[in-house]
């Protein structure tokens, strides 16, 4: 049984009301989204701003109520939970946000921030809470003595660690990560990504990872769902998607990834036209106004998400007719041989440098190449 099963999720926000409060216009933020997530795995939701990925992440936590559809968590229907059952569910699923400056209460010490969930859910006896806070801080790589400090005393990366510790306090099975590294500098970003991965391995967490950074998604996700204007247009295993994206929108998205390799071979698809408004999405396929492969049928008939034999599903009328997408995703060629050794030495610390480079490469498990 999947940890999380979402079926036909719909959320329309009222964009405009008449004088008497009647809804005049709706933003169709999420329009028929279905997916499932196994325990201990990561599903990434990707797409441009306004595609509905953040709305989906809030719907599955019931932070906002859907207009239609079902959400099952370990088989239980989340939408039928009453208030106390919902509070119990909050122990199972947590969220971390993009902005570590806005998501921590500036008037509470780190200790108080981490104690609050323990107290709310009555998890740890009062006498042992201090010890549990220390344990949580160690888990995210911070020193326990920092519990007395306030959020403003920390850097962005450290604050994100505190936000992660707070999410972990209730021992959840699922954490929604909404752009968790977008506000961080590259070197800090890699620390948080490493931490998220390590915690997943140790604690068996499942993640819903919302991001617009596709290289990060490739690094962290097992499964990816590509969203456009409130709908999933393609979903597949991360490796399958990145080696051969099928939907024309995914192709354009992945072809545009900037890669850290000068003169990288690429066949970039630059989309023409503006993103249509979610207030008034186009009829038929919602991508047809920007699609280079559009035919008449696309303008009238909405394509359904059709899986192939191996779990790669695409919502496009022309899936079987499109040219091969094997060379769409730009190649960064990995590291140059010199850089590979330098990075291994950099990560291996001083010993790796004094010893022979080849040796340090062999002993550092982080860089045993596991090409996917």
């Amino acid at each position: 049984m999947a940890l999380l099963e979402v079926n036909g999720l719909v959320k329309h926000f009222v964009a405009e009301r008449s004088l008497f409060g009647r809804a005049l216009a709706h933003v169709k933020a999420v329009d028929g989204v279905s997916f499932s997530l196994e325990a201990g795995k990561t599903l990434a939701l990707v797409g441009e701003s306004g595609c509905g990925k953040s709305t989906v992440s809030r719907l599955v936590l019931r932070l906002i109520e859907p207009d239609a559809g079902t959400i099952r968590f370990e088989g239980r229907n989340l939408l039928s939970l009453d208030a106390s059952a919902l509070r119990a569910f909050r122990r199972e699923a947590q969220i971390i946000f993009q902005d570590p400056y806005a998501s921590l209460n500036p008037r509470m010490t780190v200790g108080q921030i981490l104690t609050e969930p323990l107290a709310l859910h009555g998890l740890v006896p009062v006498a042992q809470r201090r010890e549990r806070v220390a344990e949580l801080l160690r888990l995210v790589g911070l020193e326990p003595r920092l519990a007395r400090r306030y959020p403003h005393e920390f850097s962005g990366g450290q604050r994100q660690r505190i936000a992660i510790a707070r999410a972990l306090a209730v021992e959840p099975k699922l954490i929604v990560c909404d752009e968790p590294v977008s506000a961080l500098d590259v070197s800090i970003r890699s620390q948080i990504l490493n931490l998220l991965r390590e915690l997943q391995d140790r604690l068996g967490l499942a993640y819903i990872f919302v991001s617009h950074d596709l290289a990060v998604v490739k690094h962290i996700a097992d499964h990816v769902a590509v969203m456009n204007l409130g709908q999933i247009v393609e979903t597949a295993e991360a490796d399958a998607l990145f080696s051969a994206p099928s939907h024309p929108y995914s192709r354009a998205l992945l072809s545009a990834i900037p890669v850290p390799k000068p003169q990288a071979k690429r066949s970039r698809i630059v989309l023409q036209g503006e993103i249509p408004s979610a207030l008034n999405p186009p009829p038929g396929c919602r991508f047809h106004t920007r699609c280079p492969y559009v035919v008449e049928r696309c303008r009238t008939e909405m394509p359904q998400l059709v899986p192939d034999g191996i779990g790669h599903a695409t919502a496009c009328h022309r899936t079987s007719e499109l040219p091969s997408s094997a060379a769409i995703v730009p190649s960064d060629g990995g590291f140059s041989p010199v850089l590979e050794k330098l990075v291994a030495a950099f990560s291996g610390g001083p010993e790796a440098v004094r010893g022979s480079g080849v040796h340090s490469l062999g002993t550092d498990p982080a860089y045993s190449q596991n090409r996917g």
Binding site: S187, P258, D332, L342, F346, V353
Partner: protein, 329 residues
């Protein structure tokens, strides 16, 4: 390599005097030059001094709190000694800048046309009618659909990508010789980012302007830059042609940066991290500023500040252990 640079910065130092009397060394002895038609990437993390450097070039730093020394020679002027009136003639004319936030850098109470026309009239004069025609032409150059109609719209009617294109159109209004782009695509989606980068390449090819691109995104640097300068704690720690920087970096900080970005073609379980924190720039350390975080550190590194040395032709590194290949072979 560089015949006669369009802009040449020598020994630029910028200190900020805080209200509490503390002095922050934001930029410390930066030398840079960019040739006509070249694109220089200025890379580094928050607080490394890259944006402050660009603001100094534009003469946009607050006079009361910023103490600037050194020289910025551009087109026959030393920008640091140029009177304000003359700087105003240069800015928006031969010197132009694009900022990160297309949402906040347009005035919401004027149409985009008004804002572009104002620039043209200020620097080029002529009739309002001809300025308007030029504005339409500029909007067309940055691929804004139906520019004749769009020109009379207010900024709030435009999407983020459109606004950034308007900003670029405005920057190009007087055919600048040097365009400074400070994180021009950071706020944009990857599809729009691709459009804007494509546009910048196109415009460079057409106009021959030099570009200084400030970014923390090494992917973007690889796409558009000819040369890269990496900044750390107010100093340039490495400078190299783009190919070399990405294949054989010569400063440990650059190695750490390159190792910390996820690759599409290389699945590492763990990404490289740079441990520790940037030094407090009110009291910069005595020796190398990266020493405390550097796995290749020697005793000598913490004693005296390392000079920027030429490791190979046109490849400079501020590290006494360079060439770094020696450490791993």
């Amino acid at each position: 390599m560089i015949v006669s640079p369009l802009i040449e910065i020598t020994d630029l130092r910028i200190r900020f005097h805080g209200d509490d009397g503390r002095i922050t060394h934001a930029v410390d002895g930066v030398d840079l030059s960019v040739a006509n038609g070249a694109t220089l990437g200025l890379v580094g993390e928050s607080g490394c001094g890259k944006s402050v450097t660009s603001l100094a070039i534009m003469g946009l730093l607050p006079k009361q709190s910023a103490e600037i020394s050194g020289a910025i020679r551009f087109d026959g002027f030393d920008l640091l000694k140029t009177p304000d009136q003359m700087l105003r003639d240069l800015r928006g004319n031969r010197l132009a800048m694009i900022f990160q936030e297309p949402m906040t850098s347009l005035n919401p109470s004027f149409t985009i046309g008004d804002q572009i026309i104002e620039t043209i009239l200020r620097h080029r004069g002529g009739s309002r009618k001809s300025a308007r025609e030029r504005a339409v032409e500029l909007l067309r150059r940055v691929h804004i659909p139906s520019p004749e109609r769009r020109i009379d719209e207010y900024p709030h009617k435009l999407s983020g990508g459109m606004r950034q294109r308007v900003m670029i159109a405005m920057a190009l209004a007087c055919d600048p010789r040097l365009l400074i782009a400070d994180e021009p695509t950071t706020a944009l989606d990857v599809t729009l980012q691709a459009q804007i980068l494509e546009l910048m390449r196109e415009l460079k090819a057409a106009s021959g302007a030099a570009i200084i691109l400030i970014t923390h995104d090494l992917g973007v640097v690889a796409e558009v830059c000819d040369e890269v300068a990496v900044m750390y704690a107010g100093e340039i720690v490495e400078r190299a042609p783009v190919d070399e920087l990405f294949s054989a970096p010569q400063h440990p900080y650059t190695v750490g940066l390159l190792g910390s970005i996820p690759r599409l073609d290389h699945r590492a379980e763990q990404l490289a991290t740079i441990e520790g924190m940037v030094p407090n720039m009110a009291q910069p350390p005595d020796g190398c500023r990266f020493a405390a975080r550097c796995p290749f550190v020697l005793d000598a590194c913490t004693k005296t500040p390392p000079p920027l040395i030429e490791v190979s032709q046109n490849h400079l590194s501020r590290c006494i252990r360079a060439p770094l290949e020696r450490l791993v072979s």
